[in-house]
C-alpha cells in the first residue's frame, strides 16, 4: 500500500491549510482538525433520555464517574490523566477548575462555584486504563443541536437505546445524512442498554437481550446504520467491575438464606428495601441501587450455582452483562481503527471548509477528498469487519475467522494479519500472502457463496494485495 488513508488525509489537510492560509476562520478550523488527528479517539455516548448513557460510561470506565448532575445540555468529556482533575468551560468567562476527589471508586466533584446554566463542557481527567485509548464523551439527551455537536466533536458513536424506537432509527439516519458519512458508515455501534430490564425481571433477561440484539443486527432497517448491535446491562456490568468484598458478602448472605425466604424478599424492590432482614436497610438499598432487582436475583442465583468468590461472581456478572462484548467491539471496531476513524472525522471537517468557503483552487481538494473516499480500502475493511463481527455478513466458520484476521480484526500489522505468532522470515511472509491471495481469489468467485459473501471475499483479496506492496 503506497499511502494509507490517514496519510492521504493528513496530506490533504495540510494542502488545505496552505490554500486557506489567508482565511483565519478556515485556518483555525483546519488547525483544530489537524490537532485532533493526534489526540486520542473520541467516542460519544449518546441516546434518548433515560437510555442509560451515564451507566454505560461508568461500566466502560470501571469507576463511578457519571453522571455529573448539572442543568442544561452539558457535554462531559472523560479523558486520561495522571490525577483526577476537572475543567469547566463556561459559555461566558474563562474556564475554571472545580475541586474534584476520588472516593474509593467514585468521583466527587463540587460544582457549586459555577453558574449551573452557563456551563457548556466539563472535561474530566481521570486515570483509567480504557481512557488511554479513547476519550469518552457523555452527551445530553438527543436533540437537534446536540446531534450536530456530537457529529462535529466525536469520531465514533455509541448509540444507546433500551428499545429500538423509530426515533432512534431516524437519528442514526440523520448522522449519515452527509456524503462523507454515507460513503463510510463505520463509526457507530448500537447498544441495547438496560438489557437487564428486558425480560420483566427474569434472570435470563440478559441472554434474551443478546438474542434480540442478534435479531437487530440482521434487521434491514438497522444494519446499514451501525457496525454492530450489542446488548449491554450497564448496571450489572459496572456492579461486576467494581464489586467490593462487602457487597459480595451481603449477596452471599442472601444466597445462603433459605431459598423461599430470599425469593419472598426479592419479590419486589419495595419488599427488599423495606422489610425486616438481618442485612441493614442501607446495605440493601445500596444493593438495589447498584445491581437492580434483576442483578440481585442473578447474583444470588450465580452464588448458589457455585460462584463462591468475589472475583468469580464479578467476572460472571461482567461476562453476562455484555460489557465484555461491548469493550471488544469498541476495541476492535473503534480503537484499533483509530486512524481510519480520525481520517473520517478529518474528511468531514474538511468538507465543511470546502463547502463554506469555496474557492477556485479548492477543486483539486474536492477531487482528492472524493478519491480518498472512493478508494480508501480501510473503510471497506472496517465495514466488513463490523459485518463479520455482527453476523451481518456470514462466511463459513473458518473462512470467517481467517477473513477477520486478514482484514486486521486481530491487529492491523502484517504479522497479526497473517497469523504469525513468531518472527517469520521474509519468504514465509511472501508465501503466506500469496497463499491467502490465491485462496480468497477463488472464494471471490465461488458460486456457492452469496453475492454479499463474494463481495466480502473481494475485500479480503484487496487486503491481501495491499500487504504485498
Amino acid at each position: 500500500m503506497t499511502q494509507t488513508v490517514d496519510e492521504a488525509v493528513w496530506a490533504i489537510l495540510h494542502e488545505a491549510l496552505r490554500l486557506y492560509q489567508d482565511s483565519p476562520r478556515a485556518t483555525s478550523w483546519l488547525r483544530h482538525h489537524i490537532g485532533r488527528f493526534d489526540s486520542p479517539l473520541r467516542i460519544a455516548v449518546a441516546g434518548r433520555p433515560g437510555s442509560g448513557k451515564s451507566t454505560v460510561v461508568n461500566a466502560v470506565v470501571g469507576d463511578e464517574v457519571a453522571p455529573i448532575e448539572v442543568d442544561g445540555p452539558v457535554f462531559t468529556w472523560y479523558q486520561d490523566g495522571p490525577q483526577p482533575r476537572a475543567t469547566v468551560y463556561m459559555r461566558q468567562g474563562p474556564p475554571g477548575e472545580p475541586p474534584i476527589v476520588r472516593v474509593g471508586r467514585r468521583m466527587d466533584i463540587d460544582l457549586s462555584g459555577f453558574e449551573s446554566g452557563g456551563m457548556t463542557r466539563i472535561v474530566v481527567d481521570w486515570p483509567a486504563r480504557v481512557l488511554r485509548d479513547a476519550t469518552l464523551i457523555d452527551t445530553p439527551p438527543i436533540a437537534d443541536e446536540i446531534s450536530e455537536q456530537i457529529a462535529a466533536e466525536a469520531d465514533a458513536l455509541l448509540y444507546l437505546t433500551p428499545q429500538v424506537h423509530v426515533m432512534d432509527v431516524r437519528y442514526l439516519q440523520s448522522t449519515q445524512d452527509h456524503p462523507v458519512a454515507r460513503a463510510a458508515p463505520v463509526n457507530s455501534i448500537m447498544v441495547l442498554s438496560r438489557a437487564d430490564e428486558v425480560g420483566g425481571g427474569r434472570i435470563d433477561s440478559l441472554s434474551t437481550a443478546k438474542q434480540i440484539s442478534r435479531r437487530y443486527r440482521r434487521d434491514a432497517r438497522i444494519r446499514g446504520l451501525c457496525q454492530n448491535v450489542v446488548a449491554v446491562s450497564g448496571l450489572i456490568g459496572q456492579a461486576g467491575r467494581t464489586m467490593p468484598e462487602e457487597e459480595y458478602q451481603s449477596l452471599a448472605a442472601l444466597a445462603a438464606a433459605p431459598r423461599a425466604q430470599t425469593e419472598e424478599l426479592l419479590l419486589t424492590a419495595d419488599r427488599f428495601t423495606r422489610s425486616e432482614h438481618v442485612l441493614p436497610v442501607s446495605t440493601r438499598r445500596e444493593l438495589a441501587d447498584r445491581l437492580g432487582m434483576v442483578g440481585i436475583r442473578l447474583a444470588t442465583t450465580l452464588i448458589r450455582q457455585g460462584a463462591d468468590s468475589r472475583t468469580k461472581l464479578a467476572s460472571e456478572l461482567v461476562q453476562r452483562s455484555g460489557l465484555n462484548e461491548l469493550r471488544d467491539s469498541i476495541g476492535r471496531l473503534f480503537v484499533d481503527r483509530r486512524e481510519v476513524l480520525k481520517a473520517r472525522s478529518a474528511l468531514l471537517g474538511l468538507d465543511v471548509v470546502l463547502r463554506m468557503e469555496p474557492r477556485p483552487g479548492a477543486a483539486k481538494l474536492v477531487t482528492d477528498v472524493e478519491r480518498v473516499l472512493a478508494g480508501a480500502h480501510e473503510f471497506h475493511e472496517l465495514r466488513l469487519l463490523g459485518g463479520l463481527l455482527s453476523g451481518r455478513t456470514r462466511l463459513p466458520e473458518e473462512l470467517g475467522l481467517e477473513a477477520q484476521r486478514l482484514i486486521g480484526g486481530y491487529g492491523t500489522d502484517l504479522d497479526a494479519r497473517l497469523g504469525f505468532d513468531r518472527e517469520p522470515t521474509q519468504a514465509e511472509v511472501q508465501n503466506a500472502i500469496y497463499d491467502a491471495l490465491a485462496r480468497w481469489r477463488e472464494q471471490s468467485e465461488n458460486p456457492m457463496l452469496g453475492s454479499a459473501e463474494r463481495d466480502a471475499a473481494r475485500v479480503v483479496v484487496r487486503s491481501c494485495e495491499a500487504m504485498l506492496i
Binding site: G50, V164, V166, G201, R221, A269, T273
Partner: protein
C-alpha cells in the same frame, strides 16, 4: 336534553361528512355512534414496546390471554370481553382469500400466535368485565413496525378510555407524552399505569415525576403504579395482601370510578361532543377552504377555450381580407406578365419573319414558311400557357398560405391543364408571279421607248428610225425594264407576305391573349370560389367552437355559482349543527374542561 337530539345531530354530521367527501370522518363518527349505542366500554391499552402492556391485561383479568415476550411480541390486537363461558376466536388470513377468516380456538391457546392473526378475541367470565368493560391489548407504538402502529391509531377513535402502560424504570418520554396528547383529542378518559414497580426502588419518584410531566402537558390523567408480576403471583397464591401490594385493586377501582361512568351517558356524550365538534370544525375548515380556493375565472378551461375561439375568429377575419388581396394582386400581375410575355414572343417571331422575307421570295417559300410560323406560334403559346398554369398553382399556394392551417387541396379542375394552342391557318396572300407575257409586255414597253429615242437621234444622222443602234438600245432598255419590273414585283410580294404574316400573328396574339386572359380569369374565379368556400367553412367551424365554448363557460359559471351557493348553505348548516353540539356540550356538567372552539 333527549337522546334523540344528540343522535340526530350525530347522524346529520355523519351525513355532512359523506356529502363533503370525508369518508374518514364519517367512518370515525359512525364508529363513535355504534360505540355510543353500544353498552360496552372499550378500554384501549397502549404504550411503547416492552412496557408490559400485554402482561397488564393478563394481570387485570387474572388470566393469560395475551402473549407476553421479551422482544416485540404483540403484533395484533387482543380483545378481551365478558362471557359466561370462556371462548376465543382468531381473525386471521388463511392465505387463500383477501378477507380474514374467523377461526375459533381453545382459550388456553389464545396466546398462541400462529398464522397471521388480524385480531384475537377472548371471552372470559370475570367480574370486572361483567359491567361491559372490553379491554383491548394493542401492538406497541413507535417500534420499527410502523404498519402495526397504524392499526392502534385507527382503533383510538373507538375507545372510551385509554390505559397507557409505561415502565417504572424511566419517566414518561417525549414520544409517550406526544402520544397522550394525540389520544386526548379523541378520547379524554386516560389512565397511566406505571408498570413493573417490583423491579425498581425508585418508582415513587418516577410516579411523581410522571404526574408532573402530565400536568405540565395538560393531560388530566391519573398515574397508577402497578406490578403485573405481583398480581399474577397473588392470584396464583390467592394472597390478598400481595394483591393489594400489586396496585391492581387501585387500578380496577380507577377503572370503575373513571371509566365505567363513561357508559352512563353524560360524560361520554361530552367525549362525543368533542369528537363531533372536531369533525365539524374540520368540515367547516374544508368548506371554507374550498370557497376561498375558487379558481379564478380566467383559469377555467371552458373560458380559456372560449377566448381562444374568439381569438381564432378575429384571426380568420384578418386573414380572409389578406387572402383576397393576395389573390387579386397576384392574378393581375400574372395577367400583365402573361400579356407581356406573349407579346414579346410574337414580336420576336415577327422580327424573324421580317428578316426572312427581306431575302426570300415568299412565292417560292411560303408553304415552308407557313409551317415554320405555325410551329413557332404554337411553341410560344404553349410556353406562355404552361407559365400561366405554373404561376396559377404558385398563386394558389400563396393564397393557401394565408389560411391558418395550410390548405393544399386546391381542386385540379380550377386550373386547366390544356388549352387551344392552334394558331389557325394563315390567310394565304395573293402573290403575283411575274408571268412570261407580262415580261414580254414590260420588255416591249421598255424597248419601245429606247427604239424611239435612239431612232430619233439616229434619224438625225440620216439613219432610218429603226436601225441597229435603236434596236440595240431598245433591247437594252427593254431588258432593263423587265429586270426592274421583276424587282418591284418581288418587293411587293415580300411586303405582302410580311403583312400577311403580321396580320396572322396579330390575329393569333389577339385571340390567344384573350384566351389566356380568360383562362386566367377563370382560374382566378375558381380559386376565389374555392378559397371563399374554405374560408366560410373555417369560419363556420371556429364560430361553432366559439359558441360551444361560450355555452360550456356559461354552464361552468352557473355550476360554480350553484356550487358556491351549495357550499354556503352547507356552511350555514354545519354552523347550525355546531351550535347544537355546543348547546349539548354546554348542558353537560364538565363542558368547561373541553371547550369547543370554532371560528365561523
Amino acid at each position: 336534553m333527549t337522546a334523540a337530539t344528540w343522535l340526530e345531530v350525530l347522524d346529520q354530521t355523519i351525513g355532512a361528512s359523506v356529502v363533503h367527501h370525508r369518508p374518514d370522518l364519517a367512518e370515525r363518527l359512525r364508529a363513535k355512534r355504534a360505540q355510543l349505542l353500544d353498552p360496552q366500554i372499550r378500554v384501549l391499552v397502549i404504550g411503547e414496546a416492552n412496557q408490559g402492556k400485554s402482561q397488564l391485561v393478563n394481570a387485570l383479568v387474572s388470566a393469560s390471554v395475551c402473549a407476553v415476550g421479551d422482544d416485540v411480541t404483540t403484533v395484533a390486537p387482543t380483545i378481551v370481553r365478558y362471557a359466561e363461558k370462556p371462548a376465543a376466536t382468531q381473525l386471521l388470513h388463511d392465505g387463500t382469500g383477501a378477507e380474514p377468516q374467523r377461526m375459533p380456538l381453545p382459550v388456553d391457546q389464545a396466546t398462541n400466535r400462529g398464522g397471521d392473526a388480524v385480531t384475537t378475541e377472548v371471552r372470559i367470565p370475570r367480574k370486572i368485565l361483567a359491567a361491559g368493560l372490553v379491554i383491548i391489548d394493542t401492538p406497541a407504538i413507535g417500534n420499527l413496525h410502523q404498519l402495526r402502529a397504524q392499526s392502534t391509531f385507527s382503533a383510538l377513535s373507538g375507545a372510551d378510555a385509554v390505559l397507557l402502560a409505561t415502565d417504572a424504570s424511566h419517566e414518561l418520554s417525549a414520544t409517550e407524552l406526544e402520544l397522550l396528547r394525540h389520544v386526548r383529542r379523541s378520547c379524554p378518559t386516560i389512565l397511566v399505569a406505571l408498570t413493573k414497580i417490583d423491579l425498581t426502588t425508585r418508582w415513587r419518584q418516577i410516579a411523581d415525576r410522571n404526574r408532573e410531566h402530565l400536568s405540565k402537558a395538560g393531560i388530566p390523567a391519573a398515574v397508577v403504579p402497578v406490578s403485573s408480576a405481583l398480581r399474577l403471583r397473588a392470584v396464583a397464591k390467592d394472597d390478598e395482601a400481595l394483591n393489594v401490594e400489586s396496585g391492581f385493586p387501585e387500578l380496577i377501582e380507577r377503572l370503575r370510578t373513571d371509566v365505567l361512568p363513561v357508559a352512563s351517558n353524560p360524560s361520554s356524550r361530552q367525549n362525543f361532543a368533542a369528537m363531533t365538534g372536531t369533525a365539524l370544525a374540520e368540515l367547516v375548515g374544508q368548506v371554507k377552504k374550498e370557497l376561498a380556493a375558487r379558481p379564478d375565472d380566467r383559469n377555467s378551461p371552458a373560458v380559456a377555450e372560449y377566448m381562444d375561439a374568439q381569438q381564432k375568429m378575429a384571426d380568420l377575419k384578418r386573414r380572409s381580407a389578406k387572402w383576397q388581396n393576395v389573390l387579386n394582386d397576384e392574378m393581375a400581375d400574372l395577367i400583365a406578365d402573361l400579356e407581356y410575355d406573349l407579346r414579346d414572343r410574337t414580336r420576336r417571331i415577327l422580327r424573324e419573319v421580317d428578316r426572312a422575307f427581306d431575302e426570300a421570295d415568299p412565292a417560292k417559300t411560303w408553304d415552308q414558311f407557313e409551317e415554320w410560323l405555325n410551329e413557332n406560334l404554337t411553341e410560344a403559346a404553349r410556353t406562355n400557357f404552361d407559365w400561366l398554369i405554373e404561376r396559377s398553382w404558385w398563386v394558389a399556394d400563396r393564397v393557401a398560405e394565408c389560411f391558418p392551417e395550410r390548405q393544399d387541396l386546391v381542386p385540379g379542375t380550377v386550373i386547366p391543364s390544356d388549352a387551344d394552342l392552334d394558331p389557325g391557318d394563315t390567310e394565304r396572300p395573293r402573290l403575283e408571279k411575274f408571268t412570261a407575257g407580262q415580261k414580254v409586255f414590260s420588255g416591249l414597253r421598255g424597248s419601245y421607248g429606247g427604239v424611239l429615242m435612239f431612232g430619233l437621234i439616229t434619224s438625225l444622222a440620216g439613219l432610218p428610225l429603226i436601225n441597229p443602234i435603236s434596236i440595240g438600245a431598245g433591247l437594252a432598255l427593254g431588258g432593263k425594264s423587265i429586270g426592274e419590273e421583276g424587282e418591284t414585283r418581288l418587293k411587293r410580294r415580300q411586303q405582302l407576305a410580311k403583312s400577311t404574316a403580321q396580320r396572322h400573328v396579330d390575329d393569333f396574339f389577339l385571340r390567344f391573349s384573350k384566351d389566356c386572359k380568360d383562362a386566367a380569369r377563370r382560374i382566378q374565379r375558381g380559386l376565389r370560389d374555392h378559397f371563399a368556400e374554405l374560408a366560410e367553412q373555417l369560419q363556420q367551424r371556429v364560430a361553432d367552437a366559439a359558441s360551444a365554448a361560450q355555452r360550456s363557460a356559461q354552464a361552468e359559471l352557473s355550476a360554480r355559482q350553484r356550487r358556491d351557493q351549495e357550499l354556503r348553505q352547507a356552511l350555514t348548516q354545519l354552523r347550525e349543527l355546531h351550535g347544537q353540539i355546543t348547546r349539548i356540550a354546554g348542558a353537560l356538567p364538565a363542558s368547561s374542561r373541553n371547550p369547543l372552539e370554532i371560528s365561523a
